[in-house]
Each structure stands twice: as structure tokens, then as C-alpha cells.
Symmetry: C2
């Protein structure tokens, strides 16, 4: 669900990305952190009695611990997987260029033919591309396999940013329940604060992906509200 497009090409754009990657992680972690603990607490607020309000915090904080680890480490794993996958494919391509150069040369030609270039330009391009082995393999990685070289440091940093943002995001909807004596009042305050936050995060998330920010903000807010409504209904049904 967290597919914020971060494709960039070179130089200035890459510098620009460093800040934006952190922002992406924060927005991902925080908007998920806001949604699920909010919905869980909402569900429990209607189902546990007012003298068991502490169960809302216990469940909420347990969820935050579980969710932040699952998302943070999950993000780390995805990043590490990407690096491993890239390296294993890189090795394979070097082997293939060495062992079956004709097959690989044909694949380069297919790329240029796929672009719709003439036979003459295809031939020349293939000849030039396959002169240098490193250049050739780089080309195959990027345009045959569609793989960009991933940053090996990124996985670790990203895991921390997402996990931490999930914790911060999750504490927002949970906090009102510490200060009230009945679940429904807690739910009301939690809903107002959380839906406002979801709107703000939806706004920035949409801006980052180039979608109309107001539409995007409303969509994110509606998802949060639906999740909370459903959790509330489910908990009420079982308890009844």
C-alpha cells in the first residue's frame, strides 16, 4: 500500500531525494500509525466497560509495539531484499555476458527494436553498447530487468524512520483515553484529533505523489473513519 513513486534519474534530483525519502518514510509510518491504533481503540471504546478503560491503552500500546516492529522491520526486509536481488541479478548478467554474449547482444538489439528504431540504428547502437562489458551489464540491469541500483544504507534508515513514525502516529489517537473516565468521550476526542491529522498527512502524501491534495486528504481521512467504524461495529457485535 505504500507505493510512493521515487524514481529519479541523476545529479540534482538525487540530492533532492534524500530529504524527500525521509519525508516519505515519516508520512507512510505516521498515516498507518494513526489509522490502525485509532480504529482499534475506537472498537474497544464501545466494547469494554468504563471501569476497564486501561484495556484500551494496553491493547493500543501492544498494537503500536507490534505494528511498528512489523512495519519497520518489514521495511528493512524489503530494502535488504531489493539489495540482495539486485546483486544476484548483477552477478547473473556478468556471467551471461561472458558465457552467452550472442544471446545478450540479441537482447540489447531487441530493446532498441522495441523502441521502434530502424535496423541500421539498432545495429550501430548494439555495437556501441556491447563494446564495454561494464556499460553493457549496466544497460541490461536497467533496461532489460528494470532494476535501479538500490542504496544499501537505505533499508536500515528507512526501517527506523517508518517504525518511529508509526509509534508517534499511534500515540496521537490513543492519548485522549488517558485523560477521560468514559470510553465514548475518549472516542469523540480521539476521532476529532485523528481525523484532522489524517487529513493533514493525506494532504502531504498526495502532494508527494502529484495527486490533487484535497481529494487525497479526504480519501485518507475516509479510510481511517471507515476502519474505525468497522472496528467499532465488530467489537460491539461480539460483545453483545
Amino acid at each position: 500500500m505504500h507505493q510512493i513513486d521515487t524514481t529519479v534519474t541523476a545529479g540534482h534530483a538525487e540530492q533532492h531525494m534524500k530529504g524527500s525519502e525521509i519525508l516519505t518514510d515519516i508520512v507512510i509510518g505516521m498515516s498507518d500509525g494513526l489509522t490502525v491504533p485509532f480504529a482499534l481503540a475506537a472498537g474497544l471504546s464501545g466494547a469494554v466497560g468504563d471501569n476497564h478503560l486501561n484495556l484500551i491503552w494496553i491493547a493500543g500500546l501492544a498494537e503500536i509495539a507490534a505494528g511498528s516492529i512489523a512495519m519497520g522491520l518489514g521495511g528493512y526486509l524489503a530494502g535488504k531484499t531489493e539489495v540482495d536481488h539486485y546483486n544476484s541479478e548483477l552477478k547473473k548478467e556478468y556471467d551471461e555476458v561472458e558465457k552467452v554474449p550472442d544471446v545478450e547482444r540479441h537482447e540489447v538489439k531487441e530493446f532498441f527494436s522495441g523502441l521502434g528504431l530502424s535496423e541500421e540504428v539498432q545495429e550501430k547502437a548494439v555495437e556501441e553498447m556491447t563494446k564495454d562489458k561494464d556499460k553493457w551489464v549496466d544497460f541490461m540491469m536497467k533496461y532489460e530487468l528494470g532494476l535501479d541500483k538500490p542504496d544499501p544504507q537505505r533499508a536500515r534508515k528507512s526501517a527506523f524512520n517508518i517504525g518511529f513514525s508509526y509509534v508517534v502516529g499511534g500515540l496521537i489517537p490513543l492519548s485522549p483515553y488517558f485523560f477521560v473516565t468514559d470510553g465514548i468521550t475518549g472516542l469523540r476526542i480521539s476521532a476529532i484529533i485523528t481525523l484532522c491529522c489524517l487529513f493533514i498527512f493525506g494532504y502531504f502524501k498526495s502532494k508527494m505523489t502529484g495527486v490533487n491534495p484535497i481529494n487525497g486528504a479526504i480519501r485518507v481521512m475516509v479510510i481511517g473513519a471507515l476502519a474505525a467504524g468497522c472496528a467499532f461495529a465488530v467489537a460491539k457485535l461480539i460483545q453483545a
Copy 2:
């Protein structure tokens, strides 16, 4: 966290993807569905008394409702965003090809120069690429912006598959608590079943991403165990 590479090029490969896309959705939904409700139930099992075991189901089912909606609709949103983004960029590229053809022609040349082709082949390739406007725009979309045409139907289907798999995945760790009379016995059975399932799903997830499946399976299982352990510790600490 759900970055399973699904880059394909054409024809047979695309057919092959239909089945694999559904599998990807199922594995994503189920491995997350297994992890968080498992950890939450584990956390609560140590914190609620044995005469309040029903709270584990209530919280667990509320979490499943919240999580499946957040993930399913979140996936839908991500898919829709991708389609919107593609269409808005497509319109922009058509405009630019019309209004500033020289700038766009220069960008095509930069692509071929970036590949390391000679000046002569660059010139010829640019000439051929920019003859047909549709071909030109397609090229810019794919190689300047790195955008593949997304399937507009995909978002809806994916949302359903992920959400549904989350529910199925979430019911697995929760089910033992329906049949026991004390939380710790429930936790033991739940942990055995869930860690086995996480191993199996981690295995397939890794196979799909081309990583060593045994390593990948162990990693996914360890994340689940860590999340559950942390949730258990957090819940115990607050309750104490």
C-alpha cells in the same frame, strides 16, 4: 514494506503476471495479517486475566477489521493514485511535445547520450524516435519518467485480495484463543501455528522476489516473533 518487484515487459510475461499478481496480493495481505493480530493477541494474553479472555477476541477481531480495511483501501488508493499520476503525466508530456518540441527532443538525445552511444547514433535515434508523436510520448513516459502504464482494474482487485487475505491471515493466530480457558495456553498454540505459517509465507514471498527462500522464511518468522515478544512485554509492563 510491500515492495515485491513486478516489472515485466510484454506478451507472455504479462499473462504470466496475472496469476502472480494475485499471489503477491495474497502473500502481502496474509503475512501482515498473521503478524499484527498474532502480536496483539500475544500481548493481551499476558495482560488480561483468564476470566477476560473474550477481550482477546474482541481486540483481535477489531484489529482485523481495522487492519484489513486500512490495508485493502490503502492498496486501492495507491493503485488509483498510480493511475491518476500516470494520466496527468501523460497529458503533460503531450502538451510539452506540442509546445516545446526542442526541449523534449533534447531530452530524448540526453537519454541516448546517457547510454553512452556516439553522437552519430544519438542524432539518428532522436530523429527516428520523434517522427511519430505517440511513439515519442510513450518513450518519454517510460524512459524519462520511468512510468509504466498501470492497469486501471488492478487497484480494485488488489484491494479486495489484500483485504481478504489479511482477514484470513488474522484469523489463524486468533483462533486458538476461542478454544482455551487460559491466555498462556492460547498463546503457546497460537505461536506454534503462526510461526509455522509465517515460515511458509516467508518462503513463498522470498521465492517470488528471487531471494534465498530459507533465509527469507526465517527473517519473516523472526519479525513476527519479535513483534509478538515486544507486544507481550509492553502489555505486561503497563499492567504491572
